[in-house]
Symmetry: D2
Subunit: 258 residues, 4 copies
Amino acid sequence: METICEGDTVLFMTEKKKKYMVKIVRGKKYHASEGYVDLSELLGKRYGCKVKSNTGSTWVALKPTILDYVLHYPRITQIIYPKDLGYIILVGGVRPGSRVVEAGTGSGVLTTILASYVAPTGKVYSYDVEEEYLENARKNLDKLSLLQYVELKHGNVEKDVAEKEVDSFILDVPEPWKAIKSAYSALRDGGIFVSVSPTIEQVIETVETLRKEGFEDISTVEILSREMRVKKGMTRPVHIMHAHTCYITTARKILNEE
Amino acid sequence: METICEGDTVLFMTEKKKKYMVKIVRGKKYHASEGYVDLSELLGKRYGCKVKSNTGSTWVALKPTILDYVLHYPRITQIIYPKDLGYIILVGGVRPGSRVVEAGTGSGVLTTILASYVAPTGKVYSYDVEEEYLENARKNLDKLSLLQYVELKHGNVEKDVAEKEVDSFILDVPEPWKAIKSAYSALRDGGIFVSVSPTIEQVIETVETLRKEGFEDISTVEILSREMRVKKGMTRPVHIMHAHTCYITTARKILNEE
Amino acid sequence: METICEGDTVLFMTEKKKKYMVKIVRGKKYHASEGYVDLSELLGKRYGCKVKSNTGSTWVALKPTILDYVLHYPRITQIIYPKDLGYIILVGGVRPGSRVVEAGTGSGVLTTILASYVAPTGKVYSYDVEEEYLENARKNLDKLSLLQYVELKHGNVEKDVAEKEVDSFILDVPEPWKAIKSAYSALRDGGIFVSVSPTIEQVIETVETLRKEGFEDISTVEILSREMRVKKGMTRPVHIMHAHTCYITTARKILNEE
Amino acid sequence: METICEGDTVLFMTEKKKKYMVKIVRGKKYHASEGYVDLSELLGKRYGCKVKSNTGSTWVALKPTILDYVLHYPRITQIIYPKDLGYIILVGGVRPGSRVVEAGTGSGVLTTILASYVAPTGKVYSYDVEEEYLENARKNLDKLSLLQYVELKHGNVEKDVAEKEVDSFILDVPEPWKAIKSAYSALRDGGIFVSVSPTIEQVIETVETLRKEGFEDISTVEILSREMRVKKGMTRPVHIMHAHTCYITTARKILNEE
């Protein structure tokens, strides 16, 4: 059984279902809206144990998953949500061993998830024009021991991509249509193009360009996720949901007629 | 460059966007609503090439992805759809190296997708009480070279699970609440429970049982996917969509108070 | 108690929940997939009575509502669905006594519903460039005794509208933005503009024009309706739903700055 | 042209699209987050005019519709939203001249809307067990000159309904199934039952009871409304929407077999 050690990161879930990502430091207290917990108390305990805050609230100490980590990344750019990430991975054909070009690195959320799925034999080539984003992603990936699966590359995905025969080419950039020639050139036969955009005008421009540049099986979807409040006699969907995060466009490279 | 050989399976996409999964046999013709194609013509060509049917319809010959394969499996039971599969993989914490218990095997769609994501170092333990389902899944997994990542087990997931310390426990069975004690016993600390059910009564029973049996971070969602018809000047969502496939309930095992 | 007479129209709902709109003629049989019913049998019975078809299927004989009638109109153009009609009436400010300009008349579905809500003291001015649509609507409205609340006008809503100080101006035409000056001129202070369009490009053009032409409180929504299959122990949303019918844009006329 | 007089109520819409319902009193200032407006300034102006707040924000002075009024009612109970109100009116068969039983009166939102649609010749019989709710509704209806179309009745809708041969029977109560016998007895042949409930358990109990008590054409839907942010080059759905307000169940009274 794995136990909690000094320096580990724990995901607290409080009685009111609030979540906090906390590094365990001996002698330190962690304060939140439901009181504080003395972190020393956790040392040597198993993950999934319960502790009481000074105000009597019961907190569970969970071992964070990679998804927990990325959802707690500082949001230096707009992030991609779980409902969309799962679809991108699956429909984008990202698997253990895949070679994937991605841009922009941004907050590193998608980069991290991609890295965790191409491991242990694949590679993510992640481009961004902002060096500070790359630096931030490097630190996050390193903490999660995923840096070995990623090459962080300073460059413009529209013209600087050096990779060839990649399996997937995934864009989260403001003008994805400008990188479609670059995608065609980098992808292997049948390789999958994915683009994530918030606005419909971006989608229209991207899809029209894909049609011209030798892609087929072009599809654009919106994914909606609605949570249910489940309690016998009181079951109903929750009150509020995300109405929109992004449109996801996918396509496959085919051979151009000679 | 990989070329198409005798015995390979090709995914045809016709001009009208119909898809057919076809095994290439020299001298055979493949007939569909948009005419027929002589399969010999494809031998030696690259994936992504175009062929003309006898009626002049242009077909693209794609190399099937694993997702293409499972969506063309014979549907001996209700299948899980891509929008749900991606979410299950991601939120279920299924990654390269994961050890996952799954039941029931059914059509083998989820089994195959799980196998492709736990590879090359993880394992899926897939239970079903129907031997014919297991046999069918075995053949499908073998064809896709994924059988090595799966143990197909004839047994009842409510009482026959032998595995311990697994990372995820994924149910697609009519009475998931009856397998929750079994899930608790098989999962490692913090391991993730996932249940997929079409009806709300199943969800209520499952969630109420999870609360009693030492699970936390319980969440039930519905995933909706809506396709857009994108064409400059005529862009709109498509006419018809799936209104519902299943509710997905996830939870994490925590330690019970002594 | 009202009873069924020769010449009345009855809405049959069969055991399998199929619906048929049938005129009662003595001595005639009505044939459908669940057998036939002798219509003479219904004469003198109360609405809501049950009859058996020759194959033993039980049919209910309902008195059609206006909504039933319009949903059984021949669909000579795309129709507007109940989920959208209700919203248009309410948010469009259509009430007993309202004076409403509408275009195009089309199948007359919206015209009929508007007529039934402005009665007994209001009026609908319904424009279409196709005389045959107007003729068709005239017959339908007459049958439902609603013709007195409608003026069917042969003309182009972009330039031929003669009415002033109307309460609502409702468009279901391919280029709604071209009729916005006409709407401004016809509406009273604070009068409500409504436009129904299937594509997003139509919406963008319409909203941008509304902004320029002196409208405020501009809002565009999509209405989705999902049916539930309710049965103890088997409750779930149905499998299939309309993904999209139209976007509804509403706005209010305000005074232009002098 | 109607002009704004002392004592009128105006709906201000500010530059940032905030809405305020304000009674015009000479010499008074109205303060909001975007500055204040001197109300005397509005006297004699037309509805739809623009005024500047002291901070330079431009406000439009709209004439409130009935829908504006009800959406600004004090919410002494959960209210029904426009997307649902429109559907209830239309599918519930509420029209000029209809006689409608409704319970509970609650905040009076539905009562007011019903009154405005049954006018000028119909009547709403609105039941509540809380006298203070009835008193509150009376004041609101009076202000809008709709009280003549409503009988506010202190009583329990399960047993105190005196009306017969009503067209529609509309429930927004915690245990609608207990009022179904009462609905059957009050409705005319083919009359329409409507029930609005937030939880799925309420729906199941209601639908099962309707089946037993002689109702047919039973249907339960959820209505979702999603707003679009429309701006050339930046068009997309808004970020957040209501995930759920209520399920709406409708049914028609049919004759019970003797």
